[in-house]
Protein backbone atom coordinates (compact mmCIF):
# COMPACT_ATOMS: atom_id res chain seq x y z
CA UNK A 1 0.00 0.00 0.00
CA UNK A 2 1.59 3.24 -1.06
CA UNK A 3 -0.39 5.93 0.57
CA UNK A 4 1.38 9.20 0.21
CA UNK A 5 1.99 10.50 3.65
CA UNK A 6 -0.45 13.16 4.67
CA UNK A 7 1.17 16.58 4.98
CA UNK A 8 0.50 16.69 8.67
CA UNK A 9 2.63 13.66 9.32
CA UNK A 10 5.37 15.02 7.09
CA UNK A 11 5.43 18.23 9.13
CA UNK A 12 5.43 16.31 12.36
CA UNK A 13 8.35 14.21 11.22
CA UNK A 14 10.32 17.29 10.19
CA UNK A 15 9.68 18.94 13.54
CA UNK A 16 10.68 15.92 15.54
CA UNK A 17 13.72 15.48 13.31
CA UNK A 18 14.73 19.06 14.06
CA UNK A 19 14.21 18.72 17.77
CA UNK A 20 15.98 15.39 17.72
CA UNK A 21 18.97 17.13 16.19
CA UNK A 22 18.79 19.85 18.80
CA UNK A 23 18.59 17.30 21.53
CA UNK A 24 21.59 15.46 20.09
CA UNK A 25 23.71 18.60 20.09
CA UNK A 26 22.57 19.41 23.56
CA UNK A 27 23.61 15.95 24.69
CA UNK A 28 27.00 16.43 23.09
CA UNK A 29 27.37 19.71 24.90
CA UNK A 30 26.31 18.16 28.19
CA UNK A 31 28.79 15.37 27.75
CA UNK A 32 31.49 17.84 26.81
CA UNK A 33 30.87 19.90 29.92
CA UNK A 34 30.84 16.82 32.08
CA UNK A 35 34.16 15.84 30.57
CA UNK A 36 35.69 19.22 31.34
CA UNK A 37 34.44 19.13 34.90
CA UNK A 38 35.77 15.62 35.32
CA UNK A 39 39.20 16.74 34.22
CA UNK A 40 39.16 19.46 36.84
CA UNK A 41 38.36 16.90 39.53
CA UNK A 42 40.95 14.54 38.16
CA UNK A 43 43.55 17.27 38.54
CA UNK A 44 43.44 16.88 42.29
CA UNK A 45 44.22 13.22 41.87
CA UNK A 46 47.10 14.09 39.58
CA UNK A 47 48.46 16.51 42.17
CA UNK A 48 48.38 13.78 44.77
CA UNK A 49 50.06 11.39 42.39
CA UNK A 50 52.74 14.00 41.79
CA UNK A 51 53.29 14.61 45.49
CA UNK A 52 53.25 10.96 46.46
CA UNK A 53 55.52 10.16 43.54
CA UNK A 54 58.12 12.69 44.60
CA UNK A 55 57.88 11.59 48.24
CA UNK A 56 58.14 7.89 47.47
CA UNK A 57 60.99 8.25 45.03
CA UNK A 58 63.24 10.16 47.39
CA UNK A 59 62.16 8.19 50.44
CA UNK A 60 63.07 4.98 48.68
CA UNK A 61 66.61 6.26 48.38
CA UNK A 62 66.56 7.33 52.00
CA UNK A 63 65.45 3.94 53.21
CA UNK A 64 68.37 2.36 51.47
CA UNK A 65 70.60 4.02 54.05
CA UNK A 66 68.35 3.91 57.07
CA UNK A 67 66.27 1.00 58.23
CA UNK A 68 62.52 1.48 58.39
CA UNK A 69 62.43 0.04 61.88
CA UNK A 70 64.91 2.57 63.21
CA UNK A 71 62.99 5.31 61.47
CA UNK A 72 59.66 4.37 62.97
CA UNK A 73 60.75 3.46 66.46
CA UNK A 74 63.85 5.49 67.18
CA UNK A 75 63.53 8.25 69.73
CA UNK A 76 66.42 10.45 68.70
CA UNK A 77 66.35 12.62 65.61
CA UNK A 78 69.70 14.19 64.77
CA UNK A 79 70.20 13.83 61.04
CA UNK A 80 72.58 16.76 60.76
CA UNK A 81 74.99 15.57 63.41
CA UNK A 82 78.17 13.67 62.70
CA UNK A 83 76.61 10.48 64.01
CA UNK A 84 73.18 10.84 62.53
CA UNK A 85 70.21 9.25 64.19
CA UNK A 86 66.95 8.94 62.33
CA UNK A 87 64.19 8.15 64.78
CA UNK A 88 61.08 10.06 63.74
CA UNK A 89 59.12 9.76 66.98
CA UNK A 90 60.34 13.10 68.43
CA UNK A 91 59.11 14.92 65.33
CA UNK A 92 55.79 13.08 65.39
CA UNK A 93 55.27 13.95 69.02
CA UNK A 94 56.17 17.56 68.28
CA UNK A 95 53.59 17.72 65.50
CA UNK A 96 50.87 16.04 67.55
CA UNK A 97 51.54 18.25 70.55
CA UNK A 98 51.42 21.53 68.65
CA UNK A 99 48.36 20.40 66.72
CA UNK A 100 46.67 19.41 69.96
CA UNK A 101 47.28 22.79 71.54
CA UNK A 102 46.14 24.59 68.40
CA UNK A 103 42.94 22.58 68.15
CA UNK A 104 42.21 23.05 71.83
CA UNK A 105 41.98 26.74 70.99
CA UNK A 106 40.58 26.73 67.48
CA UNK A 107 37.80 24.15 67.69
CA UNK A 108 35.89 25.45 70.71
CA UNK A 109 36.42 29.11 69.90
CA UNK A 110 35.65 28.60 66.23
CA UNK A 111 32.49 26.68 66.91
CA UNK A 112 31.16 29.12 69.49
CA UNK A 113 31.95 32.02 67.18
CA UNK A 114 30.20 30.26 64.31
CA UNK A 115 27.09 29.61 66.37
CA UNK A 116 27.06 33.14 67.64
CA UNK A 117 27.52 34.71 64.23
CA UNK A 118 24.98 32.54 62.51
CA UNK A 119 22.23 32.39 65.11
CA UNK A 120 22.57 35.34 67.42
CA UNK A 121 24.37 38.22 65.84
CA UNK A 122 22.38 40.88 64.02
CA UNK A 123 23.06 41.17 60.31
CA UNK A 124 25.23 44.27 60.50
CA UNK A 125 27.38 42.84 63.30
CA UNK A 126 27.84 39.60 61.42
CA UNK A 127 28.85 41.24 58.18
CA UNK A 128 31.35 43.36 60.08
CA UNK A 129 32.90 40.68 62.27
CA UNK A 130 33.11 37.89 59.73
CA UNK A 131 35.53 39.67 57.37
CA UNK A 132 37.58 40.82 60.33
CA UNK A 133 37.95 37.26 61.54
CA UNK A 134 38.87 36.13 58.07
CA UNK A 135 41.67 38.65 58.15
CA UNK A 136 43.24 36.41 60.78
CA UNK A 137 44.04 33.90 58.07
CA UNK A 138 45.47 36.66 55.90
CA UNK A 139 48.32 37.52 58.24
CA UNK A 140 51.48 35.90 56.89
CA UNK A 141 52.60 33.02 59.06
CA UNK A 142 56.03 34.61 59.43
CA UNK A 143 54.37 37.50 61.26
CA UNK A 144 52.57 35.05 63.52
CA UNK A 145 55.83 33.32 64.30
CA UNK A 146 57.49 36.49 65.48
CA UNK A 147 54.34 37.55 67.30
CA UNK A 148 54.49 34.28 69.20
CA UNK A 149 58.04 34.84 70.39
CA UNK A 150 57.84 38.56 70.85
CA UNK A 151 54.46 38.95 72.52
CA UNK A 152 52.77 35.70 73.44
CA UNK A 153 55.78 34.00 75.01
CA UNK A 154 56.64 36.91 77.32
CA UNK A 155 52.98 37.21 78.25
CA UNK A 156 52.81 33.52 79.11
CA UNK A 157 56.01 33.83 81.09
CA UNK A 158 54.16 36.06 83.51
CA UNK A 159 51.81 33.19 84.24
CA UNK A 160 54.22 30.29 83.94
CA UNK A 161 57.53 31.56 85.25
CA UNK A 162 59.81 28.85 83.88
CA UNK A 163 58.51 28.93 80.36
CA UNK A 164 61.33 29.12 77.81
CA UNK A 165 61.12 31.55 74.91
CA UNK A 166 60.50 28.75 72.47
CA UNK A 167 57.76 26.38 73.47
CA UNK A 168 54.99 24.31 72.00
CA UNK A 169 52.51 26.32 74.05
CA UNK A 170 53.19 29.71 72.52
CA UNK A 171 53.46 28.32 68.99
CA UNK A 172 50.33 26.23 69.45
CA UNK A 173 48.26 29.07 70.85
CA UNK A 174 49.14 31.38 67.99
CA UNK A 175 48.52 28.61 65.47
CA UNK A 176 45.13 28.02 67.04
CA UNK A 177 44.19 31.63 66.66
CA UNK A 178 45.26 31.54 63.02
CA UNK A 179 42.99 28.55 62.38
CA UNK A 180 39.90 30.08 63.99
CA UNK A 181 38.61 31.55 60.70
CA UNK A 182 38.91 28.18 58.94
CA UNK A 183 36.67 26.61 61.51
CA UNK A 184 34.33 29.52 62.12
CA UNK A 185 33.77 30.75 58.57
CA UNK A 186 33.02 27.40 57.04
CA UNK A 187 30.94 26.23 60.02
CA UNK A 188 28.97 29.43 59.93
CA UNK A 189 28.31 28.99 56.23
CA UNK A 190 27.09 25.49 56.91
CA UNK A 191 24.82 26.58 59.72
CA UNK A 192 23.32 29.43 57.80
CA UNK A 193 22.37 27.14 54.97
CA UNK A 194 20.11 25.15 57.25
CA UNK A 195 16.59 26.08 56.10
CA UNK A 196 14.64 28.44 58.28
CA UNK A 197 11.86 25.86 58.37
CA UNK A 198 13.73 23.74 60.84
CA UNK A 199 14.47 26.64 63.12
CA UNK A 200 10.92 27.88 62.97
CA UNK A 201 9.66 24.47 63.89
CA UNK A 202 11.88 24.49 66.93
CA UNK A 203 10.84 27.97 67.99
CA UNK A 204 7.24 26.99 67.53
CA UNK A 205 7.76 24.28 70.11
CA UNK A 206 8.95 26.89 72.57
CA UNK A 207 12.68 26.46 72.40
CA UNK A 208 14.92 29.44 72.91
CA UNK A 209 17.72 30.41 70.52
CA UNK A 210 20.49 28.45 72.14
CA UNK A 211 18.39 25.32 72.35
CA UNK A 212 17.52 25.63 68.69
CA UNK A 213 21.11 26.31 67.77
CA UNK A 214 22.52 23.35 69.64
CA UNK A 215 19.66 20.96 69.17
CA UNK A 216 18.51 21.63 65.64
CA UNK A 217 20.89 23.76 63.59
CA UNK A 218 24.17 22.31 64.76
CA UNK A 219 23.23 18.68 64.12
CA UNK A 220 21.74 19.56 60.75
CA UNK A 221 24.88 21.32 59.67
CA UNK A 222 27.16 18.63 61.05
CA UNK A 223 28.39 17.62 57.63
CA UNK A 224 29.62 21.10 56.83
CA UNK A 225 30.94 21.66 60.33
CA UNK A 226 32.79 18.37 60.10
CA UNK A 227 34.35 19.49 56.83
CA UNK A 228 35.42 22.71 58.50
CA UNK A 229 36.97 20.83 61.42
CA UNK A 230 38.85 18.52 59.12
CA UNK A 231 40.17 21.44 57.10
CA UNK A 232 41.26 23.12 60.32
CA UNK A 233 43.05 20.02 61.58
CA UNK A 234 44.77 19.47 58.26
CA UNK A 235 45.89 23.08 58.29
CA UNK A 236 47.26 22.71 61.82
CA UNK A 237 49.25 19.60 60.97
CA UNK A 238 50.68 21.19 57.85
CA UNK A 239 51.63 24.54 59.33
CA UNK A 240 55.27 25.32 58.81
CA UNK A 241 56.55 28.78 59.58
CA UNK A 242 54.91 29.44 62.93
CA UNK A 243 56.35 26.31 64.46
CA UNK A 244 59.69 26.74 62.73
CA UNK A 245 60.11 30.13 64.34
CA UNK A 246 58.37 29.81 67.67
CA UNK A 247 58.49 26.21 68.80
CA UNK A 248 62.24 25.85 68.83
CA UNK A 249 64.26 23.44 66.77
CA UNK A 250 64.92 20.78 69.34
CA UNK A 251 63.57 17.40 68.32
CA UNK A 252 62.47 15.93 71.61
CA UNK A 253 60.06 13.20 72.54
CA UNK A 254 57.82 14.94 75.00
CA UNK A 255 54.21 15.39 76.02
CA UNK A 256 54.84 18.61 77.86
CA UNK A 257 53.69 21.70 75.98
CA UNK A 258 55.86 24.05 78.00
CA UNK A 259 58.97 22.66 76.37
CA UNK A 260 60.40 23.45 72.97
CA UNK A 261 59.94 20.81 70.33
CA UNK A 262 60.49 20.41 66.62
CA UNK A 263 57.71 19.42 64.27
CA UNK A 264 57.97 17.51 61.03
CA UNK A 265 57.13 20.58 58.98
CA UNK A 266 59.67 22.81 60.72
CA UNK A 267 62.36 20.22 60.10
CA UNK A 268 61.49 19.99 56.42
CA UNK A 269 61.73 23.72 55.93
CA UNK A 270 64.93 23.97 57.92
CA UNK A 271 66.79 21.47 55.79
CA UNK A 272 65.47 22.38 52.38
CA UNK A 273 66.40 26.04 52.79
CA UNK A 274 69.60 25.34 54.66
CA UNK A 275 73.09 24.32 53.84
CA UNK A 276 72.66 20.58 53.39
CA UNK A 277 73.71 19.21 50.05
CA UNK A 278 70.81 18.13 47.90
CA UNK A 279 71.03 14.40 47.44
CA UNK A 280 72.61 13.68 50.81
CA UNK A 281 70.93 11.39 53.33
CA UNK A 282 70.10 14.40 55.47
CA UNK A 283 68.28 15.96 52.54
CA UNK A 284 66.45 12.76 51.70
CA UNK A 285 65.26 12.51 55.27
CA UNK A 286 62.93 15.42 54.58
CA UNK A 287 61.08 13.35 52.02
CA UNK A 288 60.79 10.46 54.42
CA UNK A 289 59.43 12.93 56.97
CA UNK A 290 57.04 14.32 54.38
CA UNK A 291 55.81 10.84 53.57
CA UNK A 292 55.17 10.17 57.24
CA UNK A 293 53.23 13.42 57.49
CA UNK A 294 51.20 12.57 54.43
CA UNK A 295 50.28 9.17 55.82
CA UNK A 296 49.30 10.68 59.15
CA UNK A 297 46.96 13.22 57.61
CA UNK A 298 45.58 10.55 55.29
CA UNK A 299 44.70 8.28 58.18
CA UNK A 300 43.09 11.13 59.98
CA UNK A 301 41.11 12.22 56.93
CA UNK A 302 39.81 8.72 56.36
CA UNK A 303 38.65 8.59 59.94
CA UNK A 304 37.00 11.96 59.57
CA UNK A 305 35.25 10.87 56.42
CA UNK A 306 33.86 7.76 58.04
CA UNK A 307 32.56 9.77 60.97
CA UNK A 308 30.93 12.31 58.73
CA UNK A 309 29.17 9.68 56.73
CA UNK A 310 27.60 8.40 59.92
CA UNK A 311 26.18 11.80 60.76
CA UNK A 312 25.28 13.17 57.37
CA UNK A 313 21.82 14.67 57.15
CA UNK A 314 19.95 15.50 54.02
CA UNK A 315 16.94 17.73 53.94
Amino acid sequence: MSNPLPAKIKRLRKRTAASNRQRMWRDVRERGIEGLLFMAAALSVLVTVGIVGVLLYESAQFFRHVSVVEFLTGTVWTPSFANPKFGILPLVSGTLLTTGVALAVALPVGTVVAIYLSEFAPFAVRELLKPMLELLSAVPTVVYGYFAIGFVAPMLQQVIPDLPTFSVLSAGLVMGIMIIPYVSSLSEDAMRSVPMLLREGSYALGANKIRTALGVVFPSALSGIGAAYILGVSRAIGETMIVAIAAGMQPKLTANPTEPAATMTAFIVQVSLGDAAHGSVEYQSIFATGLMLFLMTLTFNILGYILRRRFHQAY
Binding site: R29, E30, E34, L36, A40, S44, V47, G50, I51, V54, L55, V109, V112, I115, Y116, L117, F120, A121, P131, M132, L133, E134, L135, L136, A138, V139, P140, V142, V143, F151, P181, L186, D189, A190, G206, N208, I210, S223, A227, A228, L231, S234, R235, G238, E239, T240, M241, T265, I268, V269, S272, L273, F287, G290, F294, T297, N301, G304, Y305, Y315
Partner: protein, 302 residues
Amino acid sequence: MLDSSRLILRGKRQDAIFNIIGILFTLVGIVTLAILVVDLMIDGSPRLSYQFMTSFPSRRPENAGILSAWVGTLMVISVTLATAVPIGVAAAVYLEEYAPKNWVTTLIEINISNLAGVPSIIYGLMALGLLVYQFKLGRSVLVGGLTLALLVLPIVIVATREAIRSIPGSIREAAYAAGATKWQVIRYHLIPYSMGGIATGTIIAMSRAIGETAPLITIGALAYVPFLPPPPVQSTAPFVNAEWLHSGFTVLPIQMFNWVSRPQAKFHENAAATGLVLIFFTLAINGVAMYLRYRIRKNLKW
Protein backbone atom coordinates in the same frame (compact mmCIF):
# COMPACT_ATOMS: atom_id res chain seq x y z
CA MET B 1 4.43 32.77 88.40
CA LEU B 2 3.24 30.32 85.85
CA ASP B 3 5.62 27.54 84.88
CA SER B 4 5.70 28.68 81.30
CA SER B 5 6.77 32.22 82.19
CA ARG B 6 9.57 30.82 84.27
CA LEU B 7 10.67 28.63 81.40
CA ILE B 8 10.53 31.49 78.97
CA LEU B 9 12.55 33.72 81.28
CA ARG B 10 15.11 31.00 81.81
CA GLY B 11 15.30 30.54 78.10
CA LYS B 12 15.86 34.26 77.59
CA ARG B 13 18.52 34.29 80.26
CA GLN B 14 20.37 31.45 78.61
CA ASP B 15 20.21 33.33 75.34
CA ALA B 16 21.58 36.46 76.95
CA ILE B 17 24.44 34.53 78.55
CA PHE B 18 25.35 32.86 75.30
CA ASN B 19 25.21 36.21 73.54
CA ILE B 20 27.89 37.44 75.88
CA ILE B 21 29.98 34.29 75.57
CA GLY B 22 29.74 34.49 71.80
CA ILE B 23 30.87 38.07 71.70
CA LEU B 24 33.73 37.35 74.08
CA PHE B 25 35.00 34.44 72.02
CA THR B 26 34.75 36.45 68.85
CA LEU B 27 36.67 39.19 70.52
CA VAL B 28 39.49 36.77 71.34
CA GLY B 29 40.24 36.51 67.67
CA ILE B 30 39.65 40.14 66.89
CA VAL B 31 41.62 41.50 69.83
CA THR B 32 44.57 39.29 68.87
CA LEU B 33 44.35 40.61 65.35
CA ALA B 34 44.22 44.16 66.68
CA ILE B 35 47.27 43.63 68.89
CA LEU B 36 49.15 42.15 65.95
CA VAL B 37 48.29 45.02 63.65
CA VAL B 38 49.04 47.64 66.29
CA ASP B 39 52.37 45.92 66.98
CA LEU B 40 53.18 46.06 63.29
CA MET B 41 52.04 49.64 63.03
CA ILE B 42 54.18 50.80 65.91
CA ASP B 43 57.24 49.27 64.32
CA GLY B 44 56.46 49.81 60.71
CA SER B 45 54.25 52.79 59.98
CA PRO B 46 57.08 55.33 60.13
CA ARG B 47 58.52 53.49 57.16
CA LEU B 48 55.38 53.57 55.08
CA SER B 49 55.88 56.19 52.44
CA TYR B 50 55.77 56.73 48.73
CA GLN B 51 59.50 56.08 48.63
CA PHE B 52 59.07 52.75 50.40
CA MET B 53 56.41 51.62 47.98
CA THR B 54 58.32 52.58 44.88
CA SER B 55 61.91 51.59 45.61
CA PHE B 56 63.77 48.41 44.94
CA PRO B 57 65.50 46.46 47.70
CA SER B 58 68.84 47.70 48.91
CA ARG B 59 71.47 46.87 51.45
CA ARG B 60 70.75 50.16 53.16
CA PRO B 61 67.50 49.85 55.07
CA GLU B 62 66.59 53.50 54.59
CA ASN B 63 66.76 53.14 50.82
CA ALA B 64 65.16 49.76 50.54
CA GLY B 65 61.63 49.46 49.22
CA ILE B 66 59.07 46.90 48.18
CA LEU B 67 58.27 47.87 44.61
CA SER B 68 59.34 44.60 43.03
CA ALA B 69 57.74 42.71 45.91
CA TRP B 70 54.22 44.04 45.70
CA VAL B 71 54.14 44.00 41.92
CA GLY B 72 55.29 40.40 42.11
CA THR B 73 52.60 39.56 44.67
CA LEU B 74 49.89 41.07 42.47
CA MET B 75 51.05 39.14 39.44
CA VAL B 76 51.41 35.82 41.20
CA ILE B 77 48.07 36.14 42.97
CA SER B 78 46.27 36.98 39.76
CA VAL B 79 47.62 33.79 38.22
CA THR B 80 46.57 31.84 41.31
CA LEU B 81 43.10 33.37 41.35
CA ALA B 82 42.56 32.77 37.64
CA THR B 83 43.60 29.15 38.02
CA ALA B 84 42.40 27.97 41.40
CA VAL B 85 38.86 29.37 41.42
CA PRO B 86 37.60 28.02 38.06
CA ILE B 87 39.28 24.65 38.48
CA GLY B 88 38.20 24.39 42.10
CA VAL B 89 34.58 25.22 41.36
CA ALA B 90 34.55 22.90 38.35
CA ALA B 91 35.99 20.05 40.38
CA ALA B 92 33.54 20.62 43.21
CA VAL B 93 30.59 20.73 40.81
CA TYR B 94 31.68 17.49 39.21
CA LEU B 95 32.15 15.73 42.52
CA GLU B 96 28.85 16.93 43.86
CA GLU B 97 26.59 16.58 40.85
CA TYR B 98 28.04 14.21 38.32
CA ALA B 99 30.22 11.76 40.09
CA PRO B 100 28.61 8.41 40.84
CA LYS B 101 28.65 7.62 44.53
CA ASN B 102 31.22 4.87 44.36
CA TRP B 103 34.58 4.23 45.93
CA VAL B 104 36.45 6.21 43.28
CA THR B 105 34.61 9.33 44.27
CA THR B 106 35.18 8.57 47.93
CA LEU B 107 38.86 8.25 47.17
CA ILE B 108 38.94 11.61 45.45
CA GLU B 109 37.05 13.25 48.32
CA ILE B 110 39.39 11.96 50.99
CA ASN B 111 42.28 12.83 48.78
CA ILE B 112 41.26 16.44 48.46
CA SER B 113 40.91 17.13 52.16
CA ASN B 114 44.19 15.31 52.69
CA LEU B 115 45.93 17.65 50.29
CA ALA B 116 44.98 20.56 52.52
CA GLY B 117 47.27 19.10 55.16
CA VAL B 118 50.38 18.68 53.06
CA PRO B 119 52.91 21.28 54.18
CA SER B 120 53.36 24.02 51.65
CA ILE B 121 57.03 23.32 51.17
CA ILE B 122 56.25 19.87 49.78
CA TYR B 123 54.18 21.58 47.10
CA GLY B 124 57.22 23.69 46.41
CA LEU B 125 59.46 20.66 46.07
CA MET B 126 56.96 18.93 43.83
CA ALA B 127 56.52 22.02 41.67
CA LEU B 128 60.28 22.30 41.37
CA GLY B 129 60.58 18.79 40.05
CA LEU B 130 57.49 18.91 37.89
CA LEU B 131 56.80 22.40 36.62
CA VAL B 132 60.30 23.81 36.60
CA TYR B 133 62.26 20.80 35.43
CA GLN B 134 59.82 18.51 33.61
CA PHE B 135 57.72 21.14 31.90
CA LYS B 136 60.64 23.55 31.65
CA LEU B 137 58.64 26.56 32.69
CA GLY B 138 61.55 28.10 34.56
CA ARG B 139 61.43 30.01 37.85
CA SER B 140 58.73 32.38 36.70
CA VAL B 141 55.58 34.13 37.81
CA LEU B 142 53.61 31.40 36.04
CA VAL B 143 55.16 28.61 38.07
CA GLY B 144 54.78 30.60 41.28
CA GLY B 145 51.11 31.22 40.61
CA LEU B 146 50.44 27.61 39.66
CA THR B 147 52.22 26.27 42.72
CA LEU B 148 50.09 28.42 44.98
CA ALA B 149 46.97 27.50 43.02
CA LEU B 150 47.65 23.80 43.65
CA LEU B 151 48.23 24.62 47.29
CA VAL B 152 44.89 26.35 47.83
CA LEU B 153 42.80 24.23 45.46
CA PRO B 154 41.54 21.94 48.26
CA ILE B 155 40.19 24.89 50.21
CA VAL B 156 38.18 26.16 47.26
CA ILE B 157 36.89 22.69 46.47
CA VAL B 158 35.80 21.90 50.01
CA ALA B 159 34.06 25.24 50.48
CA THR B 160 32.27 25.02 47.13
CA ARG B 161 31.14 21.48 47.77
CA GLU B 162 29.67 22.37 51.11
CA ALA B 163 27.91 25.33 49.54
CA ILE B 164 26.38 23.23 46.78
CA ARG B 165 25.50 20.45 49.15
CA SER B 166 23.51 22.76 51.33
CA ILE B 167 21.15 23.86 48.58
CA PRO B 168 17.81 22.15 49.26
CA GLY B 169 16.86 19.39 46.90
CA SER B 170 13.57 21.12 46.20
CA ILE B 171 15.29 23.74 44.07
CA ARG B 172 17.00 21.13 41.95
CA GLU B 173 13.87 19.13 41.52
CA ALA B 174 11.85 22.15 40.55
CA ALA B 175 14.38 22.99 37.86
CA TYR B 176 14.43 19.44 36.52
CA ALA B 177 10.67 19.40 36.55
CA ALA B 178 10.66 22.45 34.31
CA GLY B 179 12.77 20.51 31.80
CA ALA B 180 16.24 21.84 32.48
CA THR B 181 19.28 19.76 31.63
CA LYS B 182 21.81 18.97 34.29
CA TRP B 183 24.17 21.70 33.18
CA GLN B 184 21.35 24.23 33.06
CA VAL B 185 20.37 23.38 36.61
CA ILE B 186 23.95 23.82 37.72
CA ARG B 187 24.65 26.96 35.83
CA TYR B 188 21.45 28.85 36.42
CA HIS B 189 20.41 27.60 39.81
CA LEU B 190 23.10 25.92 41.85
CA ILE B 191 26.11 28.08 41.17
CA PRO B 192 24.37 31.38 41.78
CA TYR B 193 23.05 30.11 45.09
CA SER B 194 26.41 28.81 46.18
CA MET B 195 28.33 31.95 45.25
CA GLY B 196 28.39 32.90 48.90
CA GLY B 197 30.24 29.75 49.85
CA ILE B 198 32.49 30.01 46.83
CA ALA B 199 33.36 33.52 47.90
CA THR B 200 34.23 32.33 51.41
CA GLY B 201 36.44 29.62 49.99
CA THR B 202 38.14 32.08 47.69
CA ILE B 203 38.74 34.52 50.51
CA ILE B 204 40.39 31.98 52.75
CA ALA B 205 42.32 30.50 49.83
CA MET B 206 43.72 33.79 48.58
CA SER B 207 44.59 34.86 52.12
CA ARG B 208 46.64 31.73 52.49
CA ALA B 209 48.29 32.13 49.11
CA ILE B 210 49.32 35.72 49.68
CA GLY B 211 51.16 34.87 52.88
CA GLU B 212 53.14 31.88 51.64
CA THR B 213 56.91 32.01 51.67
CA ALA B 214 58.52 28.59 51.69
CA PRO B 215 57.19 27.01 48.47
CA LEU B 216 58.03 30.09 46.43
CA ILE B 217 61.59 30.23 47.70
CA THR B 218 61.98 26.58 46.76
CA ILE B 219 60.88 27.03 43.17
CA GLY B 220 63.33 29.86 42.86
CA ALA B 221 61.56 33.08 43.70
CA LEU B 222 64.20 35.68 44.24
CA ALA B 223 64.98 37.87 47.18
CA TYR B 224 66.72 40.65 45.31
CA VAL B 225 64.99 41.83 42.17
CA PRO B 226 66.01 45.28 41.01
CA PHE B 227 63.58 45.49 38.12
CA LEU B 228 59.94 44.97 37.28
CA PRO B 229 58.60 42.22 35.03
CA PRO B 230 57.61 43.49 31.58
CA PRO B 231 54.14 45.03 31.68
CA PRO B 232 51.25 43.06 30.19
CA VAL B 233 50.03 46.03 28.20
CA GLN B 234 52.29 47.88 25.85
CA SER B 235 51.98 50.64 23.33
CA THR B 236 53.13 48.64 20.33
CA ALA B 237 51.27 45.83 18.67
CA PRO B 238 49.99 43.36 19.70
CA PHE B 239 49.26 45.57 22.73
CA VAL B 240 48.93 42.68 25.13
CA ASN B 241 51.67 40.19 25.86
CA ALA B 242 52.39 37.36 28.20
CA GLU B 243 56.08 38.11 28.76
CA TRP B 244 55.43 38.91 32.39
CA LEU B 245 54.43 35.32 33.04
CA HIS B 246 57.94 34.12 32.33
CA SER B 247 59.82 36.66 34.36
CA GLY B 248 61.71 36.20 37.60
CA PHE B 249 59.94 37.71 40.59
CA THR B 250 59.78 38.21 44.32
CA VAL B 251 56.80 38.53 46.63
CA LEU B 252 56.05 40.48 49.81
CA PRO B 253 56.33 37.59 52.30
CA ILE B 254 59.75 36.62 50.97
CA GLN B 255 60.97 40.19 51.22
CA MET B 256 59.64 40.36 54.75
CA PHE B 257 61.20 37.06 55.73
CA ASN B 258 64.51 38.17 54.29
CA TRP B 259 64.51 41.49 56.16
CA VAL B 260 63.35 40.14 59.46
CA SER B 261 66.35 37.81 59.61
CA ARG B 262 68.89 40.60 59.15
CA PRO B 263 70.74 41.90 62.16
CA GLN B 264 70.12 45.61 61.66
CA ALA B 265 67.11 46.84 63.59
CA LYS B 266 66.14 49.17 60.76
CA PHE B 267 65.48 46.19 58.54
CA HIS B 268 63.05 44.94 61.14
CA GLU B 269 61.12 48.19 60.75
CA ASN B 270 61.03 47.57 57.03
CA ALA B 271 59.75 44.09 57.68
CA ALA B 272 56.97 45.40 59.91
CA ALA B 273 55.96 47.92 57.26
CA THR B 274 55.90 45.12 54.68
CA GLY B 275 53.65 43.11 56.96
CA LEU B 276 51.21 46.00 57.07
CA VAL B 277 51.23 46.34 53.30
CA LEU B 278 50.61 42.62 53.03
CA ILE B 279 47.59 42.72 55.28
CA PHE B 280 46.23 45.71 53.39
CA PHE B 281 46.73 43.88 50.11
CA THR B 282 44.82 40.87 51.34
CA LEU B 283 41.98 43.07 52.47
CA ALA B 284 41.85 44.77 49.09
CA ILE B 285 41.84 41.54 47.14
CA ASN B 286 39.38 39.92 49.47
CA GLY B 287 37.22 43.02 49.49
CA VAL B 288 35.69 42.14 46.18
CA ALA B 289 34.79 38.64 47.27
CA MET B 290 33.39 39.90 50.54
CA TYR B 291 31.27 42.45 48.74
CA LEU B 292 29.94 39.76 46.43
CA ARG B 293 29.13 37.52 49.35
CA TYR B 294 27.36 40.29 51.17
CA ARG B 295 25.14 41.05 48.21
CA ILE B 296 24.28 37.42 47.64
CA ARG B 297 23.55 36.71 51.26
CA LYS B 298 21.19 39.63 51.35
CA ASN B 299 19.10 38.12 48.57
CA LEU B 300 19.16 34.57 49.78
CA LYS B 301 15.94 33.36 51.26
CA TRP B 302 14.92 29.82 51.86
